[in-house]
């Protein structure tokens, strides 16, 4: 999944705001872009779209802090 697809999912489905600006390396937690509920929804979305299983121990701050981090984590699962 491309970085762009992850960005769009967060904008359209989680923030319901297509104009929201999200930088590649922006801290999604400090900027309050994501909260714990939206992290859960994002994980479910990634699991169903990519047909992978993301174990709870992988849903960590390190792997989900920014678009870059999420992208890198998904790359490591390929």
């Amino acid at each position: 999944m491309s970085l762009e697809e992850i960005r769009q999912y967060i904008q359209l489905e989680l923030l319901l705001d297509e104009t929201a600006v999200i930088e590649d390396d922006e801290d999604l937690l400090l900027s309050e872009t994501l909260d714990s509920l939206s992290v859960t929804r994002l994980v479910q979305h990634l699991e169903s779209t990519l047909r992978v299983s993301i174990p709870p121990e992988d849903v960590t701050l390190e792997n989900f802090q920014s678009l870059n981090a999420i992208h890198a984590y998904l790359g490591s699962r390929e």
Partner: protein, 530 residues
Amino acid sequence: MLMHTGFLIHSAVEAWARETPDAPAMVFGGETQTYAELLAASQRLAAALLENGLQRSDRVGVFLRKGLDLGPAIYGALLAGGAFVPLDPAVPVERLEFMLRDGGIRHVVTSGAMRPTLARLAERMGDTTEAPILYGVDSVDGMVTVSSAEIAARDARDPGVWITDQDLAYLMYTSGSTGEPKAMMHSHRGSLSYARWGLQHVRLTPEDRVASHAPLHFDLSIFDFFSTAQAGGAVVLVPEAVTKFPASWTELVEKERISVVFTVPFTLIEMLERGALDQRDLSGLRWVLFGGEPFPPKHLRALMERLPHVRFTNVYGPAEAPSCTCHDVEPIAEGDDTPISIGTVSVGSDDLILDESDEPITDGAPGELCIRSTTLTLGYWNRPDLNERVFHRRPSFGPFPDVYFRTGDLVQRGEDGRLSFLGRKDRMIKTRGHRVELDEVESALASHPAVQEAAAYTEADGVGSRSILAAVTLANPDDAAITPATLRHHARAKLPPYAVPREIAIVAEFPRTTSGKIDRRALETDVPTP
């Protein structure tokens, strides 16, 4: 100079800094601040506050994320004779400005990390007489600042300020039904009474490492900071981002050997379901306290089975009268869905259940819980109208204030004397532990010029809490420029993040009751909690 010691909330830090100067007081990101370091940093800040004109009981805003500057901000304000006011770091700037003006807050302790919000604040308040002095940050255009280096250059010594235990210790802002937040006032005596309750109930010792998981503007933090300080234990500050990842949070509990946690059921349910508990060694954890919302028995039972060595306590008490009742949970039998009791009144508290005509209920019928307690708030800041409404005066004998706080919570006393929580009298709701007045959400949406009327309501979120939803009608129903996204954007600028409705629907008209009011019950599509 004289200091009225022993009854002040910060006296414990002074005492432990003398007794065990090298013991850890605050822990954050692998770094430790000892009691001696905490006291010295607090004294330096107190000196800076006093030099800049802080007077007894003046309010000092604490606008910081979790970090080792948090403890000195709180204790510095108190040592200087002021009262601290937690300011939510995630709050929109408009709401921050409201609190600063409403609270008459002329001193704010902050840091460079908050610079984006401070710059926007300066655009709104800079160069006015109401603009606060900012401490802990280098120059911000239009604002007077005192940098960290300037604070560090002060002498670390007792500022020798005279205050008593009746003085204001902190103001805590919470959601207000008028569309603006309201603040409750707490004295040193009340805070100390709460801190001592925590110390005694959990039997805290200097070996304890207590998590500070809740944000500072959430009253659970008073237990985290002050009960721990009473015991000379360590507060392990949990970064905000970690609280959003159950697996990172449980990892921190293990790594930091956290022994006591006080949080909301939502956090504990997430910990159970996504905390990777089977891979964690939580043998250091000995006591979990929870409050703010009912804990679904099914989930609590599962968590208790996973952590058989841990004691669990349900703590009830609005932020106006914290920890007024509590209940140590006994093992729950499989299939037992009886709601978890909120228990009986704590030492130092006394309850009264009133019927609709303010007469005491003695036969076990449901009624409004009224509390008088040594932890009771002094009342709402600048809101005599509210004080009139929520305090019920009933002179009596005994070591209690002669006012009862009307909690707005409906309860029923069982035959065993324990109280069951039945719901709310008004439109205040809890979402993941946060108090939100639905009237405030509606006011925020209705303040958009294109909105005719707004209705906020809730639905169960499946993990024991509720989500906020809203619907609006437009002044011009054909206004295509207005979308749910524009309204959400508007709400995000007015409300704290947790109070922004998850979905906002634009509807042609609302369902109405026979009296013509919006029928919010019809809007709710209530799904029972699984």
